[in-house]
Amino acid sequence: MFAFLNSRPAWSLDEFQRVLARRGERWYAACVRITGDPGLAEDAVQEALLKAWTQRDQFRGESEIDTWIHRIALNAAIDQMRRQRPGSSEELGEDLVAAGESPGTLRGRIELGRDLGRALERLTPLERMCFVLKHVEDWHLDEIAAELNNSINGIKQALFRAVRKLRGDLQQWRGES
């Protein structure tokens, strides 16, 4: 259909649009979990999507594109967080609530609608990113450390804090004070 794309016959625009339609929500959801902000998540997915388009001749199948964009989008989401709070990844560990903002208004948060979503929002950015990358995205500790420009020990400590806080919330929801 799109004859003007015939210089790269492997992937047409229509095919790419179909991949976006089928897989886009998963990329977006992962980025929302990382950033806690739908606007930043959209920017991250867009960045990954357009990068993938420019490199589309490298992909052999839809699952390869999916995996690649998912990963790049997560990286972009982490970069977005850095740009929002310039500085080292240690600074991402600061407690944002302690900075004087209420959890409900912080950075235009979305209402995730469930207790766990709210609990994730209460984590510091570093804790949330570590938790999501490890427990939802299944990254290795060294991958997280490299991506967040932190030490493996720093990542472990952030994970310990995140799990401790979240388990505390879990106990509250279960009525186990």
Partner: protein, 240 residues
């Protein structure tokens, strides 16, 4: 002594030395209390890993699709020469037409964004200003992209032009559906009304006089819309 942190790393299968892993494994086998603690940790982690589903709004999907289309069309630019001697009104008319559609689409998208504050919320003046700035930024970007891709089509084959029109129409429909779902029936109607104009421009591409007439019609509406956007960007989705 085996801590909760040790158990967590044991669960990860990394971050512990082989010796420490062996110690923990032996302790779990020997100590029923520790094993119970371990199982509770696994149950909690399993519950915590089930993060809530995050749905992607239709407007986000539409914006991403539009940006992808723009990127694809922009690749034409280096190869294309702007040959205004032949059917010079064609790219201009298309630019006006597609800019109008995309501009409205952007305004709708921003109007429906989850983090866009309501006009009634005086307490959220700063977010409102941010939403307006984001709108202008997004609009400029889309207009620039659209102009780029349409100028690049000046020398393109009719089939290529038709493909672009089809893509714009498709995106326009997505925005119209999104507007309808959000209860913005007037906007949805306006968007749908442009579909026939778009299709008509595609069909009449070789008739310069007809294209020019359509261009003038759209140019007028585009100008009116831009005036409204300039006067109050934050309410653009309500006033078009």
């Amino acid at each position: 002594m085996i801590t909760e942190e040790d158990l967590l790393l044991y669960h990860y299968g990394e971050g512990l030395s082989a010796e420490r892993r062996a110690e923990i494994a032996a302790a779990l086998a020997a100590d029923a209390g520790l094993r119970a603690h371990w199982l509770q940790l696994l149950a909690d982690l399993s519950a915590l890993a089930h993060t809530p589903r995050v749905a992607m709004p239709a407007t986000v999907q539409a914006r991403l699709a539009a940006r992808l289309s723009a990127a694809a069309a922009a690749e034409l630019k280096p190869a294309a020469k702007v040959a205004r001697s032949r059917a010079w009104v064609w790219p201009i008319g298309l630019t006006a037409c597609a800019s109008l559609v995309l501009a409205i689409g952007v305004s709708i998208g921003l109007g429906f964004r989850d983090d866009t504050p309501s006009a009634a919320s005086t307490a959220q003046a700063a977010p409102a200003a941010d939403g307006g700035a984001r709108f202008e930024r997004g609009l400029r970007l889309h207009l620039a992209d659209t102009e780029l891709q349409l100028v690049g089509l000046a020398d393109a084959e009719p089939a290529v032009r038709a493909a672009l029109i089809a893509r714009i129409v498709q995106e326009n429909r997505m925005f119209a559906r999104a507007a309808e779902r959000a209860g913005e029936t007037h906007l949805a109607r306006v968007l749908r009304s442009f579909e026939s104009v778009l299709i008509g421009m595609g069909e009449q591409a070789t008739d310069a006089e007809d294209v020019e007439l359509r261009r003038q019609q759209l140019d007028f509406e585009l100008g009116a819309m831009q005036t409204k956007l300039a006067s109050d960007p934050s309410k653009s989705s309500l006033n078009i």
